[in-house]
């Protein structure tokens, strides 16, 4: 069996695991590491439900091989926060009702997290552009945008008076 030993840092934790080269990163995360917050929504690299951060940048984990994560850092939605201690992005989605079924939500929050790291004060247009690789079938995107704006405001230091 042509398995490779890879070492991936997932949500800050180093993990060493043997994988077939053909194993997709999404499957390593969901089935190998039981981190099922990352979702698989399409077969065509369109929907972005599988989005994770790869060295801080959003990638579609269904369109990456697990072996490509060897030596790299992955952040999944589980790395943002926990139920008792939501991070500002998660809080924003809660406060602004930024989800309905929740299937696209982990991808949305991770892409938006990367956006805010680069642009702490995005306009609505910036947000819509950055999220254009993440599809939502439920919400019509309005509240997702509001959620990201909420998180951006929470994370910015208060303006000097």
């Amino acid at each position: 069996m042509d398995e490779r030993r890879i070492t991936v840092t997932v949500n800050g934790e180093r993990t060493t695991v043997d994988v077939e080269p053909r194993l997709l990163l999404a499957h390593l995360l969901r089935e190998g590491l039981r981190l099922t917050g990352t979702h698989i929504g399409c077969d065509t690299t369109n929907c972005g439900a599988c989005t994770v951060l790869y060295d801080g940048r959003p990638v579609k984990s269904c369109t990456m091989l697990a072996v490509q994560a060897d030596g790299h850092e992955i952040t999944t939605v589980e790395g943002l926060g926990i139920a008792s201690e939501l991070d500002p992005m998660q809080e924003g989605f809660k406060e602004e009702h930024g989800l309905q079924c929740g299937f696209c939500t982990s991808g949305m929050m991770l892409t938006a997290t990367a956006l805010l790291a680069e642009n702490p004060n995005p306009t609505e247009e910036d947000i819509r552009w950055a999220l254009s690789g993440n599809l939502c079938r439920c919400t019509g995107y309005q509240n997702i945008v509001k959620a990201v704006l909420w998180a951006a405001k929470k994370m910015r230091p208060p303006a000097a008076v």
Binding site: R4, L24, T45, G48, K60, C62, L65, V67, N134
Partner: protein, 288 residues
């Protein structure tokens, strides 16, 4: 869906990669961004024996202008790098206009321009841009290095001129001789869709007349189409409304659209005409 079994190597040098490709020939595929290749192998439309992952090879992620004005884009330069490029914004309006329109922002973090050319999707945007610019590809194999004009690089749908054992390592845009103008327009039903119609226009002028014209079309033929007659109608002329209209007509004639769920053939031909009119009109405005 997931791929069938394959061998995988991640060489750390170009020499190593080239040797692997030379050994395995047409059973091997290069993995760069993977945003076209991995979807193909997931659906099992392709089943290479060996994937040669070039992401760990240093020195391929660049894009830069040489002293003589040649623009070089390395094999690992991501669409995103080009989207954010100040160099492109200031010097290469056709490429700068196209970069943000490729796929979606997440795919753009991984996908590469060179990879897109090699994949030769008939609805790929970069091939039209690079054809309009008269660009070329540098391909290396064991003991061989050659340069292939992009106009000869795409040989059919998903077919490139690369021979087994060759790796495309960079794309090169020749130095402009005159004032550069141009743009890329893409009509898509939604972000991330393939182009219903894409039009690349790249012009050079001496201040009065057009000295070089490149016009290439996406999504309206079996592969990207260079609108040669339209280009020739522009060279040596000043961009007045008659000249623009004539070029737009010729470009529309060069298109070979098919009616499908993205639109009728007549509609697509009309969009080609409109886009060429607009792009040339913009060049006039830019020069003013």
């Amino acid at each position: 869906m997931y791929p069938s079994r394959f061998r995988y190597e991640a060489p750390r040098s170009l020499d190593e990669a080239v040797n692997l490709m030379g050994t395995y020939g047409d059973e091997a595929k290069v993995l760069a961004g993977g945003q076209s290749l991995i979807p193909l192998i997931k659906l099992r439309f392709a089943a290479p024996e060996l994937l040669v992952d070039i992401n760990n090879i240093p020195g391929l992620g660049f894009h830069q202008a040489e002293p003589d004005g040649t623009l070089r884009i390395g094999a690992l330069c991501r669409h995103n790098d080009l989207e954010r490029s100040e160099l492109l914004r200031s010097r290469q309006p056709t490429m700068a206009a196209a970069a943000p329109l490729i796929a979606d922002p997440i795919v753009r973090n991984r996908g590469t321009l060179v990879g897109s050319l090699c994949h030769a999707d008939p609805q790929g945007d970069w091939a039209s841009v690079m054809m309009a610019l008269g660009a070329e590809i540098v391909a290396v194999a064991v003991n061989n290095r050659r340069t292939i004009p992009v106009s000869q690089f795409v040989t059919g749908p998903f077919q490139s001129a690369l021979r087994p054992g060759e790796i495309a390592i960079e794309a090169r845009v020749p130095p402009p001789q005159g004032t550069v103008s141009g743009t890329y327009f893409k009509l898509e039903r939604r972000v991330g869709d393939f182009a219903t119609v894409g039009v690349a226009v790249a012009l050079e002028s001496n201040g009065e007349t057009v000295t070089r014209a490149g016009i290439a079309l996406t999504g309206v033929g079996p592969f990207n189409i260079q609108a040669t007659a339209a280009e020739e109608a522009l060279v040596g002329k000043a961009l007045d409304s008659n000249v623009i209209e004539q070029a737009a007509n010729l470009a529309a004639e060069a298109a070979q659209p098919k009616s499908d769920h993205r639109g009728s053939a007549e509609y697509k031909r009309n969009v080609v005409h409109t886009f060429v009119m607009r792009a040339l009109g913009r060049s006039v405005a830019q020069a003013a």
